[in-house]
Structures are given as C-alpha cells and as structure tokens.
C-alpha cells in the first residue's frame, strides 16, 4: 500500500515536471505524451498535480484541437489536446512591463483579440488593421500584427483571415477579455 502511494506521489511529481519543462520548441505537452509517461490513469494524476500547483498560484490549462472547448471531452480529444501550466491570477502592469511588453503592444493585442472573439473567432486581417489604425500608425500596426503571429498569439490563413493563435488560446481568457472591454466605462469627449 505504502509502495503504491509512493509510486503515485512520484507520478504526480513527474507530471508537474513534464508540464513545466519545455521539451520542444513550444511549451506544454500533449495528452498522449502524458499517458505514455504516466500511464492510463494520467487524468487522475493530473488532478492531483492540479491541487499541488494550485498552492503555488498556478493552474493547468487544457487547449483542445477544436476551437470550441468540449463540455465532456472524449479520451481521444484529451490525448490530442495540449496541457499547459498558466498563472492562476492576472498579472500586474508592472509584471507585464518587466516581461518586455509595452502598453501599446498590450493594447493592440487586446483590440485584435477582443474583435476576433466578438466575430466568432475570425476576421479578415484588413478589418483588424482598419480598427487598429484608428489609434496606431499604419506601419506599427502591420509590424505588430506580424509579431503577434510569430509569437503564436494570432494565426493567419491563406485567405488573410486572422484567428486567435495557440498562445492566445492557452493564455487569454476570452470571456474575461470581452467582459472587461464591455464593462469599461467610456469617457466620451
């Protein structure tokens, strides 16, 4: 019994390590990789890891292949999903600044994502650029959008349609963003 318990604890520790250590170019780990390393009970082990991480102010975020999060994910959907560790609470403007983000970049990403979320997750690049050009110079807009695409916050297809990228899906809570935008009081000039 004690042996089983010790083995389980070992697996929880391994799960946390697997989630945190960046092994490929992009962070996170696929469900099937976790199953391979932790066994078929990997979901239960992740639940325990979730409790451990919770004490550190972190949580596990699951990003499924399809844009819509399934209400009851199947085994296959879980295996193909990517698991990440994210901060549980929001970060302060100072912390964001320290991590290299400028206010104008944050504002532009905020506008682009809020607009995309309001348009069912996709919009043409032209529309997004038009909206951003209201407040930022054209050359800055193009360059910054390209940077967001490169960093995984946005993705673009052959028809120049923009979508929320893998990183936005992992890091940004779309509901909170829209609530924040709609809840802000606007001082009309």
């Amino acid at each position: 019994m004690a042996e089983e318990e010790a083995e389980f604890i070992q697996k929880v520790r391994r799960a946390v390590r697997l989630l945190l250590f960046q092994r490929h170019r992009s962070p996170g780990i696929r469900g099937w990789e976790l199953r391979k390393s932790l066994g078929k009970d990997y979901v239960k082990i992740l639940e325990l890891a979730r409790r451990q991480l919770d004490e550190l102010g972190l949580e596990i975020r699951v990003v499924y292949e399809q844009a819509e999060e399934p209400a009851k994910p199947t085994e296959e959907q879980l295996e193909r999903a990517r698991f990440y560790v994210v901060a549980k609470g929001p970060i302060s403007p100072t912390e964001a600044h320290l991590s290299g983000w400028r206010v104008d970049e944050l504002a532009m990403l905020s506008v682009a994502l809020a607009y995309l979320y309001s348009k069912h997750g996709k919009a043409s690049r032209g529309e997004v650029e038009q909206l951003l050009k209201e407040k930022f110079p054209e050359w800055v807009v193009g360059m910054t959008l390209d940077r967001f695409i490169k960093r995984g916050y946005l993705s673009q297809d052959e028809q120049d349609m923009l979508y929320a990228g893998w990183k936005a899906r992992a890091e940004i809570d779309s509901r909170t963003l829209l609530q924040q935008v709609m809840g802000k009081e606007v001082g009309l000039k």
Partner: protein
C-alpha cells in the same frame, strides 16, 4: 441546353455564396437556405452528366455546411459569451490604450515554463565538454597522401574483403573444369577462353585465369611465330611451373580488337 447552362450557373452561384460565408466569416443567415434548396430540387431532374451531378452534390454539401454554421451561430448567441460585434468595435474605438492594455492583463494568464537545467543534464554537458577536441583540431584539414594508381595483390583484396577465400576457390574450380572440358586437344586459345560479352567480365575471367596459373592448375604457352597464347590445363598435382612471368595486357582497345577478330568463344 440553354436552360441547363443557366441552371448550372445558378448552382455555381450557390456554391460561391456558401464558400464566401464559410471562409470570410460572414453572417450565415445571409444565405436563404430554404430558397437555395428549392433551387437545387427544381434543377435536379435536368442533370444528366456526372459533372453536373457532382456540382449539384457540392452545392448541397456547401448548404449543409451553412446550416451547421447557423447552428453554431445560434449556440454562440445563446451563450454568455455573445456580445454584439458592432458594440465591441465601438467600445474598442473609444477606449484608451492604457485601458485596453488593462483589459488584456485582467484576462491574461501567462504560460509558466521552466528552462532550468537538471544535474543529470549538467553532468552530460560536462562530459561532452571534456571529450570535445579543441576547435583548431576539429577545423584542421585532413591531410591526404597522394598515391599513384597501382594494382592490388590478391592478398590485399582478401584483406579488404573485396574477395572472399571461399568465393575465389569456387570460381577458380568452375573455371578450371570449364578449361579441362574445352581443352580436349590439350590446350585452348587464351583469348578465346578469356573473352566475354563485356570488358568487365573479360577482365574478371583473366584475373581468375592468372590465379589458376599461380596455383599450378594451368600454364600459359606462347607460339613465338604466330604470337598466339594458349592455356593448357594441368592436373594440379605437380609442382608449379618454374617462376616466369608472361604479361598479357588486357586494355579496352585490345579487348575490342580481340572481339572483332572473332576470338570470342
């Protein structure tokens, strides 16, 4: 005929409309699905060719995709996440950059990743470093000694495993029994015996003949008047012939010349 063309044009317009809704994220309710399905039903009896039927099937498929999009649209509007895009756009235009950045920060949960090295990896890295030769040594050009072309001895060929001992023995034995069969009158013309369809095969055969001679299984005889060379099989029991060498060059030109003179056996 004319009517079918017009009808086909109508189908293509339906496909194009559905595709633009699907690809450009337009409102799927812009497509009057019921009306388009009626159009499809009306024209269906007119289609005769496979291409026409395929176009009809494609239009039907596109319309079913639009119905799915309409379903998703309703689900989304019914959910708490739905907000009027026009309203969002208006808000985004009115908010200041600082406020917009605060909105994002409130919804942002940055990824946590560790890039810390483990003691095991550090140990591996130290081992790698210790065994890695200095750059100047690794970059040094390989010194190549130039040697002029020369022939390899049989022993060298065996050493480098170009020829195996068993294979060599087998081939020589086969050639020896062939020689005995062909040399009923005691001896056989060298070129007649050695020449093959290709130059490479002839060289290989000449090589085995030379080996046979060195093993005292055959001997070479030369007619000094005619300048012809013969091979005479020996029984292999006696001593090897007294050491004398008889160079028989086998260049490509000589091979061709010998073939032309009809020596090919």
């Amino acid at each position: 005929m004319m009517n079918r063309k017009v009808a086909l044009g109508e189908l293509l317009r339906v496909i194009s409309l559905c595709q633009s809704v699907r690809l450009k994220g337009l409102d799927p309710f812009d497509v009057d699905v019921r009306r388009k399905l009626e159009v499809l039903r009306k024209y269906l009896p007119r289609w005769k060719t496979v291409d026409e039927l395929l176009t009809d099937a494609e239009a039907f498929n596109e319309l079913s995709t639009v119905i799915k999009l309409q379903g998703d649209w309703i689900k989304r509007q019914a959910s708490m996440l739905y907000v009027d895009p026009t309203l969002v756009e208006m808000k985004l235009k009115l908010l200041e950059p600082e406020e917009l950045s605060r909105c994002l920060l409130a919804a942002w949960r940055p990824l946590m990743v560790l890039e810390q090295i483990t003691p095991k990896r550090l140990e591996e890295a130290a081992d790698y470093w210790n065994t890695l030769p200095p750059l100047r040594e690794r970059m040094r050009m390989e010194e190549v000694a130039e040697t002029s072309p020369s022939s390899m001895s049989l022993l060298e060929l065996l050493k480098f495993r170009f020829v195996s001992q068993a294979e060599l023995k087998e081939r020589v034995e086969a050639l020896y029994s062939q020689l005995r069969k062909e040399a009923k009158s005691g001896r056989v013309d060298y070129w007649q015996f050695v020449l093959e369809d290709t130059y490479e095969k002839s060289v290989e055969r000449a090589y085995y003949v030379a080996f046979m001679i060195s093993q005292a299984l055959a001997t070479l005889e030369q007619d000094p008047l005619k300048g012809e060379i013969y091979i005479r099989p020996l029984d292999g029991q006696g001593k090897a012939a007294p050491m004398s060498s008889m160079p028989v060059p086998l260049t490509h030109e000589q091979w061709e010349k010998a073939r032309r003179s009809g020596k090919h056996g």
